[in-house]
Amino acid sequence: MALEIPSPTAPQLTASPAAVSAALTTTEVRVTSSFRGAHIVLYGAVFDPTTKPSDVVVIVRGPEHPIRIARKTKVGGLWVNSRPVVFRGAPGFYMTASTRPLQDIAGFGTLRRLGAGIDHLAINAPFEQRTETRYGVRDVVVSRLGGDYLDWRRAVIRLKENAGLYDADDKGVTFVDKDLFKAEIDLPTKAPIGTYQAEIILFQDGQPVSRKVRTLTVEKAGIERTLYLFAHHSPWLYGLVSMALALGAGWAASLVFRRN
């Protein structure tokens, strides 16, 4: 069963008798040693007593993770990374699927308010340029007012798109029957671990009229989880054990070959 999550930024819905409902074929993705990404299908239905044309937009957001990005600059003939810049509030995974291109479904303001579409992604850069110290190293936090802010923002999106982590598919929602629709979510191997939110919004006349949220968790399972937790909870013991294994394997190999 999917959980209804009240979102603090729940949009003001236009009063309408129409409603949308949806379910995911998988709500738990288990990352095991054979994990090669996941393919999830979302099914939904539109309930509408009228015959107004409807559009459906599905937005999937992965767990938020600060992004550190650097720009290569030429210093003395060498291409060198600049100081990293930090973006906050960017989801680790983001995809939209819709029945039509988003800009045809609703206006700029509506999409911006809903955070629908990569262009409207709320990547929070602070208003003031400042540096902050983390782990003893100073990071530059880019200013939203800075002249090259857009270059940086576009780069974040481009790199995430190339990694298969950001995606927009304006034909991703297809109606399989009169009121029954389907969307596909492809999680790449690099998809971050954590809780994902799939937001399903029904649009009529350019306005959101009904909205549902479903959650999806991606978590390591089995031996992957055991090793990951071991490496992070008792890192020193993990280091000793893995090194003992390595030395033991070397010793065993020399024994085997001596016999031959």
Partner: protein, 306 residues
């Protein structure tokens, strides 16, 4: 058969990694080196995050070095005393190196330093070794006697205080040069993900003037100690050791190392050195030259650090 690595968080082809481990192990046994300088760049090209590749290599190098050092011990070709002094420096170097690497990664400059280190160290060592081995090959082809080794030992080796006797190497030298050499190699092992044999072996021959018979065994002994510590420190401080990745590599690696050691007797020493020099030079250039070309994508995401 694809396998998802728990720490690297990428999916890799398991048989390919075992084969790669075997190939590098073979080369390592053939030339009496750890092979990390070859393996780390290949792993990075395969899409393993550099920090994980560098850290997990320590385990692989330690495993294949252990397997070779045991056979060298049987031949009494390990100077444990000198190896211990080198390793003493190596321990300090490894601790410094792991902290340095952690700091460089946070600064976003780890890639640069790794690439530059490969270019400079592999380029210089590979170039020198290539010239030297080609000269001896040419000399032998033209029927000249091999160049007599300069027996005059550099005076600074003897002028320094804290002298110590190393009977197996027939040396009576200050401990300062081997300790410093150990520190240097320890830092490299943490930063470049290598054992450091490619630097240690020439340095032991040309700087410490050790007899050739004990050089490889002693350098491998010091590499085991340094890389064991590096591996544990990388896991403890940075959580970047992938036990699955390391195991896949070392399964192939230890087998390949034994086969390589057997095959090495079929080749002439200077021909082996020329071949190794060529490999070292190519890897150094491949890793370092990217710094000079205009990148296709001017931005890079810094991964592996929350």
């Amino acid at each position: 058969m694809d396998l998802y690595l728990p720490i690297a968080e990428v999916s890799v082809n398991a048989p390919l990694l075992v084969a790669l481990g075997a190939l590098v192990g073979f080369i390592s046994g053939l030339f009496g080196i750890g092979g990390g300088f070859l393996m780390t760049p290949v792993l990075v090209l395969m899409g393993i995050p550099p920090a994980v590749a560098v850290a997990s290599m320590a385990n692989h190098v330690a495993a294949s070095s252990t397997s070779s050092v045991i056979s060298y011990t049987r031949k009494r070709a390990v100077d444990f005393r000198l190896g211990g002094v080198l390793a003493g420096g190596g321990v300090v170097g490894a601790i410094v190196g792991v902290e340095l690497f952690r700091w460089l990664r946070l600064l976003g400059q780890a890639d640069l330093v790794v690439a530059l280190s490969y270019l400079v160290f592999l380029g210089v060592i590979g170039g020198l070794m290539l010239v030297e081995s080609l000269q001896s090959i040419l000399r032998r082809r033209s029927g000249q006697p091999p160049k007599p080794r300069k027996e005059r030992r550099p005076p600074w080796l003897y002028g320094l205080p804290l002298k110590m006797r190393f009977p197996r190497s027939r040396l009576y030298i200050s401990v300062i040069p081997p300790v410093l050499l150990g520190v240097f190699v320890g830092v490299l092992s943490a930063v470049m993900g290598v054992g450091g044999g490619f630097i240690l072996v020439p340095a032991m021959i040309y700087i410490l003037r050790m007899p050739a018979g004990v050089v490889v065994g002693t350098s491998l002994f010091q590499i085991i100690i340094t890389t064991s510590l590096t591996g544990v420190l990388q896991a403890g401080r940075n959580q970047t050791v992938d036990i699955v990745l390391a195991t896949l590599l070392l399964v192939g690696g230890v087998l390949g190392a034994q086969l390589g050691a057997k095959a090495s007797s079929r080749f002439r020493a200077e021909e082996l050195r020329a071949l190794l020099a060529l490999i070292v030079l190519l890897v150094g250039l491949r890793m370092g030259l990217g710094l000079f070309f205009t990148p296709d994508e001017p931005f890079v995401l810094m991964t592996g650090m929350g």
